[in-house]
């Protein structure tokens, strides 16, 4: 897994104050998640794409990130058109593909891609410490920030532990199958993972105490808002308003139709 993202770049986006980027990402992704109108959704996707381009991201890496998500999208395209009741768009033997289902699947696809690209462009372009500090300065509760940072630090350690345990099982001839023995073995491995994680947690805490930890964390980041951050934020606000306008004019049109 790749947790590092693209924080080593030096594009316009990389130079925007991380706090501004985090805030814009939060607002924009929340808005995108609730959009209904297709024009608004397409505009949102376009904006995300533009941000990816201005962040000068490695396109291969971006498409890999998207690919990791396609399984889910394909599942949605199979399930929704068949399971949502509505006007039949296409009939294949006894299978009904409903217009409503297809529309919903398309909406979810647009939303997901738009939000993933947005995170790639604005969030993956900072390192985790910076992200943690900006969350902190945006008044996200400290416990959440450090939970998040520690997860980032230790997820690979956990991954290694899991691989070690699996290897130990395999060396002794374990082969996954559909039987009780397999489930029991996985259960044991999971149990060991929890125990190991708990003990590691204790040791990490001890190591922190040894270095004078007394419940307070100090950030090493220095943030400074500058004119370009202001320009960026204003541009984003304009674009977000445009998306909103499309969304609401769509709704208005619908209401007019109904009337």
């Amino acid at each position: 897994m790749d947790f590092e993202g693209y924080h080593e770049g030096n594009s316009i986006i990389h130079r925007i104050d991380p706090r501004v980027r985090v805030l814009i990402t939060l607002i924009f992704s929340f808005l995108t998640a609730i959009l209904i109108n297709f024009n608004a959704l397409f505009l949102s996707l376009t904006i995300s794409l533009l941000l990816v381009i201005s962040a000068n991201l490695n396109i291969i890496k971006v498409s890999k990130n998207l690919k990791a998500f396609t399984g889910f999208i394909i599942l949605i395209w199979i399930i929704l058109p068949l399971s949502i009741k509505g006007e039949t768009l296409y009939k294949l033997w006894f299978l009904n593909f409903s217009t409503e289902g297809i529309e919903l699947a398309l909406r979810i696809t647009l939303k997901s891609f738009s939000i993933i690209l947005l995170f790639n462009a604005l969030i993956s372009t900072m390192n985790f410490s910076v992200l943690g500090s900006s969350m902190e300065s945006l008044k996200v509760p400290l416990k959440i920030v450090y939970l998040f940072l520690m997860t980032f630090r230790y997820i690979s350690v956990l991954d290694e532990e899991y691989k070690r345990l699996m290897q130990a099982a395999k060396i002794r001839g374990f082969k996954a199958g559909v039987n009780l023995h397999t489930y029991k073995t996985y259960g044991n491995i999971l149990g060991m993972l929890f125990v190991n994680a708990h003990e590691r947690g204790n040791r990490v805490y001890k190591a922190m105490v040894c270095r004078g930890f007394n419940g307070k964390f100090y950030s090493l980041q220095n943030f400074k808002i500058s004119f370009k951050d202001f320009i960026f934020a204003s541009m984003m606000v304009l674009l977000i308003s445009a998306v909103l306008t499309l969304e609401y004019s769509g709704i208005l049109l619908k209401i007019q139709k109904v009337i």
Binding site: S129, M150, K206, V209
Partner: protein
């Protein structure tokens, strides 16, 4: 000579275990003293270090550090500023996302300003010859690199004595030589646990071991081998002279 650590009649048993891990243990570290500790896996070396740092509370016995009786957690908070412990597993010690943050963590807790802490961190990394690691991500370091960064986090707090728990695991020969050089340059009172007899001989002046929950000093080890060696084989001269090597040798390799 000033005494830094003085443990007397320490006993400790892990909850749920039948056996005492440490039993009637005495240990003394004075200034200018460098003690190597070679003992088999599970003999209680790590537990001993954690007791010295106040991370594990012994069920009985007295701990005196820098001439002061250690009674409660408050006493140990002071100790941790003066004695640096290098943990056996570097992944326990490095919990920040990046190297520089981890090294600056100690100085920040000591009340240093952000700029001072960063400067101390950079200086410590340079001292260890790893200033280029500064902005690297901790979990992407190799085992040996993690060890060096862990050492940096300990040294950044400017300790007056150090306890190193198996510092050479995962180090290649070159890095090990660097560590030997660094330890000589630091010249701090220290206790160093290791399975690597050659390394221990180079960085310490005496070698102790732990047996049945007790620390055996170099003198004890000598007596021990003397008593045992005689009746069996009186011709074996080097059994007498090889004080340390006869008994203090590691029995197992790394922990699995």
């Amino acid at each position: 000579m000033k005494t830094i650590i003085d443990l007397q009649r320490i006993e400790y048993r892990y909850p749920g275990n039948e056996e005492y891990t440490l039993k009637d243990l005495d240990l003394k570290l004075t200034e200018n003293e460098k003690i190597g500790m070679i003992a088999s896996n599970g003999s209680g070396k790590t537990t001993l270090f954690h007791i010295i740092m106040g991370l594990t509370k012994p069920s009985s016995g007295t701990i005196e550090i820098f001439g002061k009786d250690m009674i409660d957690e408050k006493d140990f908070i002071d100790v941790r500023k003066k004695i640096g412990l290098l943990f056996q597993d570097a992944d326990d010690q490095l919990f920040c996302p990046t190297v520089i943050e981890d090294v600056a963590f100690g100085p920040l807790n000591q009340g240093k300003t952000k700029d001072d802490a960063l400067e101390i961190a950079s200086d410590t990394l340079s001292f260890l010859g790893i200033e280029s690691f500064k902005d690297r991500i901790n979990f992407k370091l190799s085992g040996g690199e993690k060890r060096l960064v862990s050492l940096a986090t300990v040294l950044a707090m400017k300790p007056e004595a150090i306890l190193l728990d198996e510092p050479t695991t995962g180090l290649d020969e070159k890095t090990k030589d660097k560590l030997i050089e660094v330890l000589a340059k630091l010249d701090l009172p220290s206790i160093i646990i290791s399975h690597d007899a050659e390394f221990v001989n180079k960085v310490t002046s005496k070698i102790y071991t732990i047996k049945e929950g007790k620390v055996l000093t170099d003198k004890d080890i000598y007596l021990h081998s003397h008593v045992h060696a005689h009746p069996h084989d009186s011709d074996h001269k080097h059994e007498h002279t090889g004080t340390v090597h006869s008994h203090g040798h590691p029995h197992g390799r790394d922990e699995i």
